[in-house]
């Protein structure tokens, strides 16, 4: 019993007297007052190291602008979502959407993707033209494809 007590004493971890301080996730940072900085004052002051504050501000502004432009371009580019690429024994690339409704093929991935896009447009136009007489599976397929590829609709 005494041996067990000794072991327990050695491995017991005392609780901290003060609870760990963590940022409160419920505090709305947007509600905090803004700190005002006189940019003009910074821009006129040369740092002792030789760095011009106005150059630094300009570089930062440029970086932010470029990041915003890149994000806008990325969002404008059509997304193909999740596609499945396979390559058969003959070396032919086949790309399909997850439902298997549309496929494109080619000797390269790029060729297969370009073929996929034109097949997708064909499929959409066909299903639309025959919408009134589609079996349930194809009617469902039309709805799913429209949700997966809204930029083609």
């Amino acid at each position: 019993v005494s041996q067990n007590s000794a072991v327990v004493d050695r491995i017991s971890v005392p609780k901290p007297s003060k609870p760990e301080q963590r940022p409160d996730p419920h505090v709305d940072l947007r509600a905090l007052p803004d700190t005002e900085i006189d940019v003009a004052e910074y821009a006129q002051t040369d740092a002792p190291t030789g760095i011009l504050w106005r150059d630094l501000l300009e570089a930062l502004t440029q970086a932010v602008d470029e990041a915003a432009r890149a994000k806008t371009e990325r969002l404008a580019r059509p997304s193909w979502g999740a596609l499945v690429y396979t390559r058969d024994d003959a070396g032919c690339f086949v790309v399909q959407d997850l439902t298997g409704a549309v496929y494109g093929s080619g000797h390269t991935r790029e060729e297969a993707l370009a073929d996929f896009e034109s097949s997708l447009r064909d499929r959409f136009s066909f299903l639309r033209e025959h919408e009134a007489s589609l079996a349930p599976r194809l009617a469902r397929e039309l709805r799913v494809l429209a949700r997966l590829f809204p930029h083609i609709v």
Partner: protein, 92 residues
């Protein structure tokens, strides 16, 4: 067994009675049953050579809603049209 593109086109059109829609960029084939379109597939542009790619055949089978082996049997005439249509309707 590898199929030629011509063989696949002929089987779809003649044996399985798919109708061809020539107004598309890709040759498109569709199957009607009781006035409803129950299956649609197309032949990819890259399948212009003599031999149809295995990957493309499998993709066509998925479009039609049957398994690869069933589609192959339908193309090489070891599966009757009625049995093929039954398989298509099961998924339609």
């Amino acid at each position: 067994v590898a199929f030629s593109v011509r063989q696949v086109r002929r089987a779809l059109g003649r044996k399985l009675a798919f109708e061809e829609d020539t107004g598309r960029r890709h040759p498109t084939f569709y199957l009607k049953h009781d006035g409803k379109v129950v299956a649609v597939t197309h032949i990819s542009h890259s399948s212009s050579g003599d031999e149809m790619s295995e990957g493309v055949l499998s993709a066509m089978a998925r479009q039609v809603g049957v398994t690869g082996p069933i589609f192959r049997r339908a193309i090489d005439c070891t599966l009757s049209r009625d049995d093929f249509v039954r398989q298509v309707l099961d998924s339609a």
